[in-house]
């Protein structure tokens, strides 16, 4: 009988994120090459890991066609040079793809079937615009199952502003500004760079090297934000300044059973405590992380007060603020996204989940006073995903 075991997050890396579109740094780079380079970078950083010990490779992508098709978990494992004996599969839960990869591989390890797994995600939103090739069932419309507006994420964010009038545009802009400032500060302090795997990039002007996230706008001001267009509604509240930009990028993590990680000398940056996924009305998909976090807390036997660090995906300011307000947390609580988030860094849909974990893991190293952290995100079509992690560096103290 297989024995259940503790699951640890050994390590995580990612490519620098690029702006989606023809002017973005990855326009001439394939999505699968991004994830492959991330996997190679992960393996190189963990030389104690015998590659043949990897039991599975789960890679998420929202649009699973073209350079994200052909079961990208398998193709990228082969392309990254993992032994052919290592299997792989693809995952899709839109924005929570990589988080679902982690939850799935984590469960496989936790249930004792696997010792080691690779979990990550990739999204080349330049090559695969949101909703590309989608063919929604006409019943959605005919039976009014989902408001057609719910298929556009910007509209769902506007709807959140409608639902929670206290979440004003001004608060959303301020949150967006803070994100830019915090990311700039984190970069300046060298917090982000150690986990980036440089990517050689082709352009018509020759080869270059992507070494940092491309979407950051450290020069942002509140005044500037106030001037931005509201593309989803006339006189709306959602702008490019309080939403995450369209992004290309890939992330990947190494998960293992605690015992095997120890045996192989792999180390452990986080221990997986619990996770939860939940559904909400698609029209207000941004509140999805609230019920998913409640689920995860319940399974962990914790309360929100036990969480010392929050890595919340900033699909939209308003959607993060809705969670904070729900749990009674201040907009500028220092526990929340201390190094900024997707508004500045970018949100390559199915890749983002592991980016949250990478940052949380780094913060755990710096914060032996923190015991638990939360990674959470909203998901299109009305879902939320949350994973709670424990800090192995925890030395007692506050919580």
């Amino acid at each position: 009988m297989a024995e259940r075991s503790d699951v640890v997050f050994v390590d995580g890396v990612r490519t620098p994120f690029g702006r989606a579109g023809e002017k973005g740094q990855y326009w001439n780079t394939r999505a699968d090459d991004l994830i492959v380079k991330a996997i190679i970078g992960l393996l190189e950083r963990n030389p104690n890991l015998p590659p043949e010990r990897v039991d599975d490779v789960a890679i998420a992508a929202t649009t699973q066609t073209g350079d994200q098709g052909l079961t990208i978990g398998r193709t990228s494992a082969i392309l990254a040079g993992l032994p052919l004996s290592v299997p792989g599969f693809s995952i899709d839960r839109m924005c929570a793809g990589a988080m679902t990869s982690v939850a799935t591989i984590g469960s496989m390890i936790g249930f004792g079937q696997y010792d080691i797994g690779i979990a990550g995600g990739v999204e080349h939103m330049g090559h695969h615009p949101m909703g590309e090739g989608a063919d929604p069932n006409p019943r959605f419309l005919a039976e009014k199952l989902v408001d057609p507006e719910a298929l556009n994420m910007g509209n769902t964010a506007e709807r959140l502003h409608d639902r929670f009038p206290s979440l004003t545009k001004e608060r959303a802009d301020r949150f967006g500004l803070r994100s830019q400032q915090k990311v700039a500060a984190a970069y300046a302090a060298g917090k982000i760079q150690p986990d980036l795997i440089p990517v050689a990039i082709k352009s018509e002007a020759g080869w270059g090297l992507a070494t940092q996230d491309e979407g950051m706008r450290p020069e942002t001001t509140l005044e500037g934000l106030a001037m931005l267009k509201t593309p989803f509604r006339p006189h709306g509240r959602v702008t490019a300044g309080n939403a995450s930009p369209l992004t290309d990028g890939a992330t990947v993590s190494l998960l293992a059973s605690a015992d095997v990680a120890k045996d192989l000398g792999l180390g452990a940056k986080m221990r997986m405590v619990s996770f939860g996924f939940a559904g909400v009305e698609p029209e207000v998909m941004g509140i999805g992380p609230i019920p998913s976090t409640e689920k995860a807390l319940r399974k962990a036997g914790l309360t929100i007060d036990d969480i010392g660090l929050f890595e919340l995906n900033e699909a939209f300011s308003v959607q993060v603020l809705s969670l904070l307000e729900h749990f009674g947390i201040d907009d500028e609580d220092p526990r929340v996204n201390p190094w900024g988030g997707a508004i500045a860094i970018g949100h390559p849909l199915a890749a983002t989940g592991v980016r949250l974990m990478i940052q949380l893991a780094r913060q755990f190293e710096e914060r032996p006073d923190v015991r638990y952290g939360l990674t959470a995100m909203c998901v299109g079509l009305g879902q939320g995903g949350s994973v709670i992690w424990e800090n192995p560096n925890f030395k007692g103290g506050k919580r």
Binding site: V36, K37, I197, P198, S203, E204, G206, W207, G208, L209
Partner: protein
């Protein structure tokens, strides 16, 4: 810098490979200026280095030198577009180089541009060979301070000597000083002469032509990381093959001497480029770079403006282009599918056919012979060959099983019923061939192709007794079948376009180059060789010493002399070929009674105990030939015989063209290069016959207008 405008003017339409520069900040914070060479086309049009390309590259390096002086950059690196660094000099316009001076400019431009990577910039230079690199493409790297290579790069080579020139943009001087004289000899001289063998990336690394090797998935990233290590001093570069004092004092000249002897015994002393390369490599021992480069300039200018280079480029284009689009080939769409192949005969030749067809077409191949024992032996031979391929890891176990299962034998020709292609390899006798085709025609469909490998019979006559002679083609292989790249596809007056197209497409699938010939005796290769061998045998019968005959044809630079060739093809076969041609054209081709008797006695070359030729003629052979000397015999001088052979060849080729045996002189040359190994420096035969005046003497004109000759 020298004025190169004359050179640039030669090719206003050059596909320019641009030098794009992007700055890259390395992990240490140092800044590297990365040049990407890119001609803006996909990988099917590799980047080449023409005059405008090199001048742009040179200008970019000037700019980077300035930036280096301002401390804006810490290093310069060069890499290529995807899959390709550079395929070398742009040779598309070399035939238009008007004089030696322009050739000299071409050499100097390479040195003055690529040379800037060596010690000029003020910062270290790196070349990341990310893919194909040939000739000048390799020399980009050799000129730089450090090199990395992608472990998946398609091919790396200095093929200059193969084309009749020398690595003259630094290669001849830099390479031996980087990897030692013996390695350099292999790369610069031996490999080009081994049918232009190319290096694999790991060989490049092992030889020391690259300091580091990285996998393709992260080649550029890893090269940049490695570069940072070199710049910061963390990575130390060791070059184990770099020649030391002892190598220079002791080994160098010895290696050159051995190479010189090897060359002379292998290819004679006619071809200039290998010897020129040898001299440059020799001098590289103790000259400085400037002197070495100047010597390369002069050597390259001499060769570029000479006859042999022009003929070589002509030959190269035949092999690269004309061979791939055979003249006179009907539309490929007319070709019938070949889904099962029948081979009549189970002997050695038939087994070779069966193996080739099953490997390349991967369809069922059935062989037949007179009795079950021969059939079984044939199948066993083929299965054994497949096992050998497996043992050598040329094919996988699954593939071996697949191929073996496809090869079967039968004594019942009814089993040929569903073959779409039947080839015979039976005894070279008209009646026998007619009989086997008639037998098999009873069973096969009326459209199935009947191919004969005859070398001396009329293909039309072989098909004369068939109900459907229009599906008969000649399909003349050269021995050894697996190695020789040529098939003469013989078209009779009755052959349909569908049959001919099927033959051409099938030849291509067999990865052979096919040339279409008319159904005339000897087709192309054997007719030319019969002329040459007939003259040689006639001369010795007339009392000309064997050595004089060998001397007479030495200026051609053929891969072997006539007697070695006779020994190789077999004296009996040789005598038969002479008989056939004498029978067809008695006034122009000699038969040789002496050769028949030599064949009978099986004696010609003197051989040692192990059967290896000693280089002399066996005394018994000399005695036999003497017996056949007519009373009025007249020995020829080497000069007389050379003229006879040149004129004889010019006359025969001229007649073949008049008789439309092939479409053009180019096809004759192609056949001789591919089927008989005639050298590039001759251009096959016709450029040579034009340049020595044989064409003018014989028919008052030339095969090529203008003649394919140098400008020096």
């Amino acid at each position: 810098m020298t004025d190169f405008s004359k050179l640039v003017g030669l090719d206003p339409d050059e596909v320019v490979t641009h030098s794009y520069v992007r700055d890259i900040t390395l992990p240490s914070g140092k800044v590297l200026a990365l040049i990407t060479l890119d001609n803006g086309r996909d990988h099917t049009r590799p980047s080449t280095l023409g005059p405008a390309t090199l001048l742009e590259f040179s200008g970019v390096l000037d700019g980077l030198k300035t930036r280096a002086a301002k401390k804006e950059i810490d290093a310069v690196a060069v890499t290529g577009k995807q899959f390709i660094l550079a395929a070398g000099a742009d040779l598309s316009k070399v035939s238009e180089i008007p004089d030696r001076e322009t050739g000299l400019l071409m050499a100097k431009l390479g040195h003055e541009s690529l040379g800037k990577l060596g010690g000029y910039l003020g910062v270290p230079s790196f070349v990341y060979t990310n893919g194909l690199a040939l000739g000048g493409g390799v020399e980009i790297g050799l000129n730089a301070d450090y090199r990395t290579i992608d472990s998946s790069a398609a091919a790396i080579a200095l093929p200059e000597v193969f084309l009749g020139i020398i690595p003259g943009w630094g290669g001849a001087w830099l390479l031996p000083n980087l990897i030692g004289i013996e390695n350099a000899l292999e790369v610069v001289i031996s490999n080009p002469l081994k049918n232009n063998k190319v290096l694999k990336p790991h060989e490049v690394f092992d030889l020391g032509m690259a300091d580091a090797i990285f996998g393709p998935a992260n080649f550029l990233e890893d090269s940049l990381k490695w570069t940072d290590g070199v710049l910061t001093g963390k990575t130390k570069v060791k070059r184990k093959n770099e020649p030391g004092k002892i190598e220079r004092a002791v080994k160098w000249d010895v290696a050159i001497g051995i190479a010189d002897k090897m060359l002379a015994s292998r290819i004679g002393r006619v071809a200039k480029s290998p010897y020129q390369a040898l001299e440059l490599l020799k001098a590289a021992k103790n000259t400085d770079k400037k002197t070495g480069f100047a010597a390369e300039d002069e050597a390259l200018a001499d060769l570029i403006s000479g006859d042999q280079f022009r003929a070589s480029i002509y030959a190269f284009n035949l092999v690269q282009k004309r061979a791939k689009k055979p003249a006179g080939a009907p539309d490929k769409a007319l070709a019938q599918k070949v889904t099962k192949v029948g081979v009549i005969g189970a002997g050695l030749m038939a087994s070779q056919f069966a193996l080739l067809f099953v490997r390349r077409l991967q369809v069922p191949v059935i062989i037949t012979d007179l009795d079950q024992a021969r059939v079984d032996k044939g199948v066993a031979t083929i299965h054994g060959e497949i096992d050998d391929l497996l043992a050598k890891k040329r094919i996988s176990a699954d593939e071996a099983n697949r191929l073996k299962a496809l090869v079967t034998g039968t004594t019942d020709k009814a089993d040929f019923a569903d073959c779409d292609w039947v080839i015979e390899a039976v005894f070279e006798e008209l009646g026998v061939k007619q009989q086997v085709f008639a037998d098999v025609e009873r069973y096969i469909s009326p459209e199935a192709i009947l191919a004969t490998n005859t070398s001396s019979l009329s293909v039309e006559q072989i098909g004369a007794k068939l109900k459907n002679p229009e599906r008969v083609v000649g399909f003349h292989f050269f021995n050894p079948v697996a190695v020789m790249p040529l098939i003469e596809v013989v078209k009779t007056p009755k052959t349909t376009d569908a049959a001919l197209s099927t033959a051409m497409v099938t030849a291509a699938k067999l990865r052979k180059n096919a040339v279409i010939t008319a159904d005339t005796p000897g087709f192309v290769v054997n007719r030319i060789l019969a002329k040459l061998l007939g003259e040689a045998m006639h001369a010795v019968e007339q009392g000309t010493p064997f050595e004089t005959v060998v001397e007479a044809v030495r200026p051609f630079g053929l891969p072997m002399d006539p007697f070695v060739l006779l020994d190789l093809v077999g004296l009996k076969v040789g005598a038969h070929v002479l008989d056939t041609h004498h029978g067809a054209f008695p006034e122009r081709f000699f038969e040789s009674a002496a050769l028949h008797e030599l064949a009978e006695a099986n004696v010609l070359l003197e051989k040692d105990g192990k059967g290896k030729p000693t280089g002399k003629i066996d005394k018994k052979a000399i005695a036999i030939v003497e017996k056949h000397r007519p009373k009025d015999a007249k020995a020829l001088t080497a000069e007389e015989l050379r003229l006879r052979v040149e004129d004889g060849l010019a006359d025969e080729i001229h007649r073949m063209l008049e008789g439309k045996v092939v479409e053009a002189a180019e096809d004759i040359d192609l056949c001789l290069i591919l089927g008989a190994g005639w050298p590039f420096q001759m251009g096959g035969a016709t450029p040579y016959l034009d340049r020595v005046g044989a064409s003018e003497r014989v028919f008052g004109a030339t095969f090529h207008t203008p003649r394919i000759v140098g400008v020096a």
